[in-house]
């Protein structure tokens, strides 16, 4: 004797109960209200705790109501949806706070004077001074690193795409990938051991450039490689069929076609190494004075300036203001590079219809 499974839904209904479309919003609003009430009632000061209570209430409440009305599977689906939303919101908070804090505290001392004066004669705890020496140092070090890394990176990518067959190409591909993950401080230690401790060259902007170049190369190789792969085979074949030597085909056809993408990749890699602090700390040493010669004597650098203003000031407000202003300068520089690079990528994207 078997009885058909009894459901609590009205007989003949094809689908179970559905909650209205405004249900998620209502739950969120209700749980925020309740959380604020609990927070005020229990005297919790931290708004973070209020948020956590609200999130827990929203997820729990969704499950309880949906399980009664729609059934367990639908309830689980709704809980998953709300958890995914919570993940997103939880991640947005610190990232938004980072941008907001840098903007708000950075604009305090960021002005023309700040960008055109060095820290010469200004004690760490005094107000005044600026980042000109650091800006100059960063531009020179990153420029030198670019000059070293880009030819090597682009040529390696050309080798991998146009010539590379067999073991050597596979080894290069693998180690380029692995090299992408080298911690910046390890690159700094390598140049320290080789350039400064063994060759006795002394701290200088150029030593920093060497480490930055090591960090740039794999990024340039990977992005250039992707771009060269996008160049249609027909273009190469057409050029070769006209009797153009392979090297001239690469120089005159392949590279110009993918130039926009390569420039984008190079700019993104510049943006990446501009913010590197650790190798600069080990190799460039830092100074309060303007040193325009990257090949001898310590230089300053923007990320290093931020760290030193933070670490050497023992909590002086003026130094923190300078650190935030320098951080804002650095972020602005990196973001502009990123935006321009992405703009170039969009406008020069090959229109092959793929």
């Amino acid at each position: 004797m078997t009885t058909p499974a009894v459901t609590d839904r009205p007989a003949g209904a094809l689908r179970g109960g559905r909650l209205p479309r405004w249900f998620p919003l209502a739950v969120v609003a209700a749980s925020i209200v309740v959380a604020v009430a609990i927070g005020l009632g229990a005297g919790l000061h931290s708004t973070v705790q209020w948020g956590l209570i609200a999130a827990l209430l929203a997820v729990g409440g969704t499950y309880a109501v949906a399980a009664r009305v729609e059934g367990r599977r639908q309830a689980r689906d709704r809980v998953a949806t709300s958890l995914v939303w919570v993940c997103f919101l939880v991640a947005v908070i610190p990232l938004a706070s980072l941008i907001w804090a840098t903007l708000r505290r950075g604009v305090k001392v960021l002005d023309g004077y700040f960008l055109t004066h060095s820290m010469a004669g200004v004690a760490d705890t005094e107000p005044g001074g600026g980042v000109y020496h650091a800006l100059l140092g960063t531009l020179e070090q990153v420029g030198l690193a670019t000059v070293i890394a880009v030819p090597v990176g682009v040529l390696t990518a050309v080798y991998l795409v146009e010539y590379g067959r067999g073991g050597l190409a596979r080894a290069v591909t693998f180690f380029v990938d692995v090299m992408t993950g080298i911690p910046s401080i390890v690159a700094g230690l390598f140049v320290l051991s080789f350039w400064i401790l063994i060759l006795k060259m002394g701290y200088s902007g150029f030593a920093g450039s060497l480490a930055l170049a090591i960090l740039m190369m794999p990024v340039v190789v990977r992005s250039t490689e992707e771009m060269l792969k996008l160049v249609p085979r027909e273009l190469r074949e057409a050029s070769l069929a006209l009797g153009v030597p392979k090297w001239r085909t690469i120089l005159k056809v392949v590279l110009p076609t993918s130039l926009g993408g390569i420039v984008t990749g190079v700019m993104l890699s510049i943006a990446r190494v501009t913010g590197e602090t650790a190798p600069v700390l080990l190799l460039v040493w830092g100074t309060n004075f303007i040193n325009a010669n990257p090949f001898s004597d310590p230089q300053a650098s923007l990320p290093l300036f931020i760290y030193q203003q933070y670490a050497n000031s023992a909590g002086a407000g003026a130094a923190y203001d300078r650190a935030w202003a320098a951080a804002l300068t650095l972020i602005a520089f990196v973001m502009i590079l990123n935006l321009v690079a992405r703009g170039i990528a969009r406008f020069t994207a090959p229109t092959t219809g793929r």
Binding site: L44, T102, G164, V176, V186, V221, T277
Partner: protein, 335 residues
């Protein structure tokens, strides 16, 4: 070039370049320019390999110099004393701190990052998903020193409430008890690292989730699956190895992060029983904060600890790449 002579192939009547062209297996004519260009580009590739090898060799050389004069055990000594002889230093504290902060970072970041990736690919309104992904891309470019500054001056003061709450609720475990010091502990470092590696893990996971075959999802939907069941049965199994390799890339970054840790942590050279009490250190942080006062021998000792970090990140990244490459037909190959 008279290619018509190829058919008769009277080799003796051909000039040298013609003979090169007539070789049936020739991929093309090898002119001097070609040889130079091939040499240059192959040389660049070899240079990269040489740099990798040189990093290993020079770090090992300086490390051996330091370790041979180490009076303690390099792996187990709880001390970092390189200023006066006999020097005693060891990486036990650093290994512990690096491991703990990275594990905390991964535990916090991976679920949230997978959540965001799912949000972007399967839950967010179409018009919202594009810009958000773009912003997350940009956030991956924020320099680590800025995260460090923010962590030290904004995040740390905000964590007092959380620490007090953790202490009252979970203090009995011992691991999460708090003696009331400034919240500049390994847990804070882990939280900050989690925020920093979130964009990377999200980006790679999103790429993988986007490549889930549409048919798999539609098949699940056709069987009456809810959206969550589609994710659980079609999306997550497909993306599992991608998520693993994304996490390992994030782990590689967390292990080697220097400035964010150096600004947030207040280091001591011992192991705290509780995650919440300030103290401890990581490989990279220790190098950055001890470097300025180090003698040449002290720098060698720091290089020795850097070598350990290098080997660890090499293994982690290599493993991540092997996982990605094994399924390269899906991931990033046509990006």
């Amino acid at each position: 070039m008279q290619t018509s002579t190829q058919h008769t192939d009277p080799a003796s009547t051909l000039t040298a370049p013609d003979r090169a062209a007539a070789r049936p297996d020739a991929r093309g004519v090898m002119r001097p320019g070609d040889r130079v260009f091939l040499g240059l580009s192959r040389g660049a590739g070899i240079l990269l390999l040489v740099i990798m090898a040189a990093i290993a060799v020079f770090l090992t050389y300086r490390a051996v110099l330091a370790i041979s004069k180490d009076d303690g055990n390099f792996l187990t000594t709880f001390e970092w004393n390189t200023g006066v002889l006999p020097a005693k230093f060891g990486i036990a504290v650093l290994a512990f701190g690096t491991l703990v902060s990275s594990v905390v970072a991964m535990a916090l970041a991976v679920p949230v990052a997978v959540g965001i990736a799912l949000f972007l690919t399967h839950y967010a309104p179409r018009r919202l998903a594009g810009p958000i992904a773009y912003v997350i891309d940009l956030l991956a470019a924020v320099p680590s020193i800025v995260y460090g500054l923010w962590g030290a001056l904004v995040l740390v003061p905000h964590l007092n409430g959380l620490y007090g709450w953790l202490d009252t609720v979970l203090g009995w475990t011992g691991v999460l008890s708090w003696q009331g010091g400034a919240p500049r502990s390994l847990l804070t470092v882990g939280i900050l690292l989690a925020i920093m590696i979130l964009p990377i893990i999200t980006n790679v996971s999103r790429e993988v989730f986007r490549q889930v075959p549409r048919m798999h999802e539609e098949a699940a939907l056709a069987l009456g699956a809810t959206r969550w069941e589609v994710v659980r049965m079609a999306v997550l199994p497909f993306g599992r190895s991608g998520v693993i390799s994304a996490s390992m890339l994030g782990l590689g970054r967390a292990l080697g992060e220097t400035m964010a840790v150096a600004t947030v942590l207040s280091p001591t050279f011992d192991i705290q029983a509780s995650l919440l009490d300030p103290g401890g250190g990581t490989f990279a942080q220790n190098i950055a904060s001890k470097f300025n006062e180090a003698t040449e021998f002290g720098q060698d000792a720091l290089i020795a600890s850097g070598l350990v970090l290098f080997v660890i990140t090499l293994l982690v990244n290599g493993a991540a790449r092997l996982i990605i490459n094994r399924r390269s037909e899906y991931s990033g190959a046509h990006a």
